[in-house]
């Protein structure tokens, strides 16, 4: 490898880094994006500092306080049907959602990017084969796939991540492929080829960073929808198991009380979940708005 190529690589990496930071900086220009980033940041901080800010153990039963207690000074959001502090459960629940959803999305992106880059860069039979595999997975009714996976491997955080990766990576792959098909014709890719860079280098350093705009938008949205999916699986009875606080499960478990007029038990986790998803979508809007301005 020549010196020139090495410095080229370093420069490229620096360009990537400053590019990413530049985007974050630009976000300030989008009020909607700022609101979204604020909400997401709020939940991230909540998740990180859960042990410090949670008033009680999320699984502790406060029988002295009472079952289904409405919001009160001792329990700001009240207690649920098992006399557990709802605020504490929401705070700890944020940890679960914000671990599983982003991590699952990340895994889907790793797999999806590899497939998409290979298919878009090499084209030909590689492309045909990979896209046909993706099409098969994509034509499955998603929920059945989830249920089959959860029944087969059992309901756990890890299996939710596996399931999301399996189901979302073909979608990511399609997106990455279409970007790659476009970007591989650019002059800087041709230049890198002239320099004799290996294919992996061109794909990861030249193409992928330049495709990041739509990918970031999609990743934000996808993380939000994954949070909803986790809740939906919980609702259908194939999600995370009690007693750990899962926002979707908290809504399902207290549906009967909701119909009975004790709204606080279901409302609080529903608002928590929705606000997080809204946060991710607004963030995505902001990023999209900025990228269109370039």
């Amino acid at each position: 490898m020549t010196t020139e190529a090495t410095t080229g690589g370093v420069r490229a990496r620096r360009r990537v880094l400053s590019g990413w930071l530049g985007r974050l900086d630009l976000l300030r220009e989008s009020p909607i994006g700022m609101v979204g980033a604020g909400i997401v940041l709020f939940w991230c901080l909540t998740a990180i500092f859960a042990p410090l800010i949670s008033p009680y153990d999320p699984n502790m039963n406060h029988f002295d306080a009472g079952v289904a207690l409405p919001p009160s000074p001792g329990h700001w959001l009240g207690t649920d049907d098992q006399a557990r502090d709802i605020l504490s459960r929401i705070i700890w629940g944020s940890r679960i959602v914000l671990t599983i959803a982003p991590f699952a999305t990340f895994c889907a992106y790793v797999v999806g990017c590899i497939i998409g880059l290979l298919a878009g860069y090499y084209r030909g039979w590689v492309d045909t084969f990979l896209m046909q595999v993706c099409n098969v997975i994509l034509s499955f009714p998603v929920l059945v796939l989830y249920i089959i996976i959860m029944i087969k491997f059992g309901p756990s955080a890890l299996n939710i991540i596996v399931a999301v990766t399996f189901i979302a990576s073909p979608q990511v792959a399609r997106l990455v492929r279409s970007q790659t098909l476009e970007l591989r014709e650019r002059e800087y890719v041709a230049a890198a080829k002239m320099r004799g860079e290996p294919a992996w280098y061109i794909m990861l350093v030249e193409i992928l960073p330049n495709a990041r705009g739509p990918l970031i938008v999609d990743a934000c949205l996808r993380t939000g929808y994954t949070a909803i999916t986790i809740g939906t699986l919980g609702f259908l009875g194939v999600g995370l198991r009690p007693p750990d606080p899962d926002w979707g499960g908290m809504v399902r478990d207290t549906y009967g009380f909701l119909l009975g007029g004790q709204i606080h038990m279901a409302l609080a986790p529903a608002i928590a979940l929705s606000s997080l998803v809204v946060g991710f979508s607004l963030l995505a809007d902001g990023v999209r708005e900025i990228s269109l301005r370039d």
Binding site: V238, R241, P243, Y255, L259, G260
Partner: protein, 547 residues
């Protein structure tokens, strides 16, 4: 009176004396005296109460339709039903020889009365002579015998076999123990000649897979067009959607008041049924889950019915495994549990805390022991004595079907932590759980048991050495001996003395941790009269009318 009583059964006069002396409660008197053949009406008269177990036939009005929310699932083979819900629609058409009312007292139904020999081995059933099948044929002894023999045929696979095996079948369990075991006395009299004493024969005849079907059905129940003796016929049957039963004139018990009953399927989400009840799309729910109670209580047009039951779940430990070999370890597991708290967490406190011996306060032979309260120090000491001062780790299998089960399991796991036993609760979907519930691959599992009217019935099904449903694989000679003694003891007081010994044995050495007895709930629109909550959740629409 005394002489009459003696003619019905030699033990009845003694029972009447005990009632007079206050040695047996009214409830126990009702139970035992009706079991021995006294009519429910006479029995109620003797304790000075009106018979309310079966609603009176004086309807305020006739006509109308009642709609129930219920899964409309395949019902084509009644003798092999495995869920109570399966029998809900068919029992409008095909009926049982006896009927256990909502007061937990069993009465004659298709039979007029029964008699038991003093040793409880010979049971004579006198059939009603006024019962006709819907094809016009009279209901006779041959039909009953056909049904009994079919249910006892191992190839059919009815759970009736499990109930009657001990006293009707040979040692191998593959044939009747005697060619004359089911005897036809005359066209309206059938006699069971049992090999062992059995107290609960009338109860067994009300077991939900034991309806009397017409022999020409060959055990199949297509629904529409099926022959039966019941008050109604099925006129519409659409899987997963709807079933309609329609009144048929000339019912032997007196025509029902309603024109029809409709069963509407709302799926597995209990909240959907409550939503349907709220908006008047259905008039009743046969089973209201604890989590839905708050919603139902708010409905001013609906009455919530409660039945105290012997429905429960037990965490059974298989002593055949090293972990559970030592009785001290098993007792320590029991002592670690604060049962009233588990009841609160798992079932909103709606029921009774249990005492780890599987005999419920609603059972007539229940003996009250000093309450087995949580005793962490005692449990730790037992563990230390057993050589496990630091506790151990294990896995508890649990069924996800009803949400109170995982809740109870998790609450108990928290308590076991306090004595150093770390229990990992593995929750399985129902279908998977029922595959391992009685298997040795699940040394520690949490299984539900339904209500049975007598304590000895459950003990005999679940804990006798080698019986098919002995899920804990527990084998204790002393227990078996005491149980046989209890099963052959008619005198409730004497039986209770034996059962007390059994209960103590269960608490000391038994294979289960039993946290709670749960109440069950049903909801019905106020305009529906004659509805009663049944401990096994059966519904009897022929008793209903609309106000």
């Amino acid at each position: 009176m005394t002489r009459n009583l003696k003619e019905i059964h030699s033990y009845l006069p003694t029972l009447a004396t005990q009632l007079a002396e206050g040695k047996v409660s009214r409830r126990e008197f009702l139970r035992t005296s009706t079991l021995l053949g006294l009519s429910a009406a006479s029995a109620y008269a003797m304790v000075g109460l009106p018979d309310q177990g079966i609603a009176s036939k004086a309807y305020a009005a006739t006509g109308g339709t009642v709609r129930m929310s219920m899964r409309v699932q395949p019902i084509e083979s009644p003798h092999t039903y495995s869920w109570i819900q399966d029998s809900m629609m068919s029992r409008n058409v095909i009926e049982y020889l006896t009927l256990t009312g909502s007061d937990n007292v069993t009465r004659p139904w298709l039979c007029e009365k029964w008699e038991a020999s003093d040793d409880l081995k010979v049971w004579t059933l006198h059939l009603r002579q006024d019962v006709k099948w819907s094809n016009g044929e009279p209901f006779v002894a041959d039909h009953v015998i056909w049904n009994i023999k079919r249910c006892l045929d191992p190839a059919v696979g009815s759970s009736v076999l499990g109930l009657m095996k001990g006293y009707m079948m040979n040692d191998a369990g593959d044939a009747l123990w005697d060619a004359n075991a089911v005897e036809k006395v005359d066209d309206h009299t059938v006699r069971l000649n049992a090999r062992a004493a059995q107290l609960a024969v009338p109860e067994h005849f009300f077991h939900y897979p034991f309806p009397m079907m017409h022999p020409s059905s060959e055990g199949k129940f297509p629904g529409i067009g099926s022959i039966g003796t019941g008050w109604a016929e099925i006129v519409e049957y659409e899987l997963g959607k709807k079933c309609v039963v329609k009144k048929k004139p000339g019912y032997w018990h007196g025509d029902g008041a309603l024109d029809s009953v409709e069963y509407i399927d709302h799926g597995d989400d209990p909240a959907a049924a409550v939503a349907a009840l709220t908006s008047g799309q259905v008039d009743g729910i046969w089973q209201v889950e604890a989590t839905q109670l708050a919603a139902v209580r708010k409905l001013s047009h609906v009455t919530l019915y409660e039945a105290t039951t012997a429905q429960t779940a037990v965490a059974r430990m298989q002593p055949i495994h090293d972990t559970w070999k030592d009785p001290r370890v098993r007792k320590a597991m029991r002592l670690a549990i604060d049962t009233p708290k588990v009841l609160q967490v798992a079932y909103l406190g709606l029921g009774e805390p249990a005492e780890h011996h599987h005999v419920a306060p609603v059972h007539p032979e229940y003996a009250k022991l000093p309450f087995m309260a949580q005793d962490i120090e005692g449990a730790k000491k037992l563990l230390a004595d057993a050589g496990l001062p630091n506790g151990f780790e294990t896995e508890l299998f649990c069924n996800a079907d009803q949400d109170w089960e995982p809740r109870a399991a998790n609450a108990m796991a928290e308590m076991w932590k306090q004595i150093g036993v770390n229990v990992k609760v593995t929750v399985l979907p129902g279908a998977q759980y029922w595959e391992i519930w009685d298997k040795e691959t699940a040394p520690f599992a949490f299984t539900t048991w339904t209500h049975r009217p007598l304590g000895v019935m459950v003990l005999g099904l679940a804990y006798r050495t080698g019986v098919p449903w002995n899920e804990s694989k527990w084998s204790n000679a002393k227990f078996d001996e005491l149980l046989s003694q209890a099963e052959g003891t008619l005198d409730v007081e004497k039986r209770r003395e034996v059962v007390e010994e059994i209960e103590i044995l269960m608490q000391e050495e038994g294979p289960i941790v039993q946290p709670l007895w749960r109440s069950v709930f049903a909801a019905m629109d106020k305009k529906v009269q004659g509805f009663q909550a049944h401990p096994t959740q059966y519904v009897f629409p022929w008793d209903w009318s609309l106000a």
